[in-house]
């Protein structure tokens, strides 16, 4: 089936070449980081995790959101999604690939990464994160491949795939839960120390992932002969609607708890993000942009008139995606580190090489995504031809 990813139009090859170029530049910067150390990033003693880990967190969400296609189709027998579950699974594969790459580029000693397996440490959440992420990657590669191949040969997928699909449903929830546990189990980090972190992560995931998928479906419809379907897109839009409303609701719950209890250790982070603390507030405009994007999206999505209008829906999905990206990919991690546990305010801003490496990882993800989607779409085109 892989051969389908190598047969494409000029535009397809042009896009892949462009991605490879970005990967190349990113990899060059990574080699520099490897020889110099993580000092080329904006991270510091006080903000010891930055852009990489934030992207990782955001993308775990995108990966987990595949379950929003798998679950209605396999558990509720919602037939319409049968056509596009493969897109969700392949989106998960590429997202988890990026997650793992982001972890690797964030390590100070990446060549020792296998120590996590050589010296398994069950009391470390990172150990479990390694297991659930790799497991999820494995599940989606196997399931996606088998189902697509069966579809291509017009036969039913092998029986042993079914149990794997059922396992993948709670597994998707687990990847984002465990990722939230990385943060919310740490004493002395008031911003993350909240039981609602995992649910909040999942809510934003189920908004960001499907909204991205809608955008991808619209692109696929435009560029290929495969139409993911109007109904499918509308159902996804409803999922996004619930997801983004839940996400904003959870955010407001947090806002209430920290500002009504007024416990400085919890409140100061929120203050830093939304109004600035002791004169520092690089993220303030970003956070308000995020909130306005999410609120705009809610207005556009709740209203059936606008939701059913696909160009407007596309705008709403962009709002959701970038709103949640700022929320998680920018604010969530540095927000937890500022102020520091000793109440110093040392801000974090990513550096140019750090952003280039990040783009390199994203390009790798998009390369995988494009190749997989190309395969899936080619199979669909073959069948309809």
């Amino acid at each position: 089936m892989l051969e389908l990813a190598f047969k494409g139009s000029k535009r397809y090859y042009g896009w892949m070449t462009a991605l490879l170029a970005v990967i190349g530049v990113g990899f060059g910067c990574y080699l520099w980081q490897l020889s110099f150390g993580l000092g080329i990033t904006g991270m510091s003693r006080d903000v010891s995790w930055g852009f990489y880990i934030a992207q990782f967190t955001f993308l775990v969400g995108v990966a987990a959101s595949a379950v929003m296609l798998v679950l209605p189709y396999y558990l509720h027998n919602y037939k319409a999604f049968g056509k596009i579950t493969i897109l969700g699974e392949f989106l998960a594969v590429s997202s988890v690939t990026m997650c793992l790459l982001f972890i690797i580029v964030d390590l100070g000693q990446p060549m020792r990464a296998f120590n996590v397996i050589l010296y398994p440490t069950p009391n470390s959440i990172l150990f479990w994160d390694m297991i659930v992420l790799n497991g999820y990657l494995f599940l989606n590669v196997v399931i996606g491949w088998q189902v697509l191949e069966a579809e291509r040969n017009s036969v039913a997928p092998p029986a042993w795939v079914k149990p794997l699909i059922y396992v993948s449903i709670p597994w998707a929830v687990s990847i984002h839960t465990v990722t939230a546990f990385l943060y919310c189990g740490l004493p002395g980090r008031g911003f993350w120390l909240t039981a609602i972190l995992a649910p909040r992560f999942l809510a934003s995931a189920f908004a960001a992932g499907p909204s991205f998928l809608i955008l991808l479906c619209l692109i696929i419809r435009k560029l290929t002969k495969f139409d993911p379907g109007k109904e499918q897109i509308q159902t996804l839009a409803k999922i996004v609607t619930y997801g983004i409303i839940m996400n904003v609701f959870f955010l407001l719950c947090e806002v209430f708890v920290v500002f009504y209890s007024k416990i400085p250790e919890h409140m100061d982070h929120m203050k830093y993000l939304f109004v600035g603390l002791h004169g520092h507030g690089v993220l303030v405009p970003w956070m308000w942009t995020s909130v306005s994007l999410m609120l705009t999206a809610i207005i556009l999505l709740v209203n059936p008139m606008t939701r059913k209008n696909e160009p407007v829906l596309a705008v709403a999905c962009l709002c959701v995606f970038f709103g949640t990206w700022i929320d998680k990919g920018l604010g969530m991690i540095s927000g937890g580190f500022v102020p520091s546990p000793l109440h110093h305010v040392n801000e974090y801003v990513p550096t140019i090489p750090e952003i280039i490496i990040t783009m390199g990882v994203y390009a790798t993800g998009f390369l995988v995504l494009t190749a997989l989607f190309k395969m899936a779409v080619s199979v669909k085109e073959e069948l309809s031809a």
Binding site: M43, R45, W49, G108, I125, G188, R189, P341
Partner: protein
């Protein structure tokens, strides 16, 4: 044709796997060969200071100004080859000074007496009884020794910095770049670190093994007192009995082993 190609690939794949596994078997074979023959042993060092749980009492009444703390910090940073970076982001410190409101942010008190307000406090790794960094470390590179010291194995650290996020006392530093060119005067008896690993105070394990007190205690002129918290006869226990002491962020339940007489 289709089938035979498949079979070929399968066989080739399995053979490749088998070939790559050979060194592993070789390694096992070698260790068996020598394992039984040698009867070398390892022992703890004679004359080493030992305890059930090491603790430190900092008598802040003995300090007047930041000047009094300098030799203590200097002593530690010198023997442990701590680099000095211009760039504050890359800073590495094992023991340093903080104002009271930063060392004890949960004891904030704007009307606190003048002495405490102006007095710099020494802060270092708390060698917690239930250390969040030990819990977080995915490779056991940070682990708890039997004497209560939270130790680090720099050989094993992968540089994920989970421990830095976990530490509620900001006691950990990361080597954002090769520290060697920035070490003013190298202590040749103690190793430096390499880029990409986390480090922190080790309670001078290497000195305890030689029967010596930690460097900071040695340099403090009696203001820092080191001893076994589990031994009722130890000096630290006597001091804790006769003085009111505080510890940092006790509400978090980490059980710090550093006590402050204020």
């Amino acid at each position: 044709m289709e089938n035979s190609r498949r079979t070929f690939l399968k066989i080739a794949g399995i053979s490749a796997l088998g070939l790559s596994a050979k060194p592993v078997f070789n390694a096992f074979a070698v260790s068996e060969e020598h394992g039984g023959k040698k009867e070398a042993k390892v022992l703890p060092k004679k004359g080493a200071l030992t305890a059930k749980r090491w603790a430190l009492v900092i008598d802040t009444t003995k300090f007047k100004s930041a000047k009094d703390l300098e030799p203590i910090i200097e002593a530690c940073h010198k023997i442990h080859n701590i680099p000095v970076f211009e760039n504050k982001r890359h800073e590495i410190k094992w023991i340093w000074e903080e104002e009271f409101k930063h060392a004890f942010p949960d004891l904030e008190n704007e009307h606190i007496n003048d002495r405490i307000k102006s007095l710099p406090f020494l802060v270092l790794c708390n060698q917690c009884q239930d250390a969040p960094c030990v819990r977080a470390c995915p490779t056991k590179a940070t682990f708890k020794q039997e004497d209560g010291i939270v130790a680090m194995d720099f050989h094993r650290c992968i540089g994920c910095r989970f421990c830095m996020a976990a530490c509620p006392y900001g006691s950990r530093s990361f080597n954002f770049r090769d520290p060697r060119p920035f070490i003013k005067e190298t202590n040749k008896k103690f190793p430096t670190r390499m880029k990409g690993v986390v480090e922190k105070c080790n309670f001078c394990s290497e000195l305890l093994a030689e029967g010596k007190q930690p460097a900071c205690v040695e340099a403090s002129g009696g203001a820092l007192i080191f001893g076994d918290l589990e031994d009722p006869e130890s000096e630290v226990r006597k001091l804790l009995k006769s003085n009111y002491t505080i510890r940092r962020k006790t509400a978090l339940g980490t059980g710090p082993s550093i006590y402050y007489i204020v």
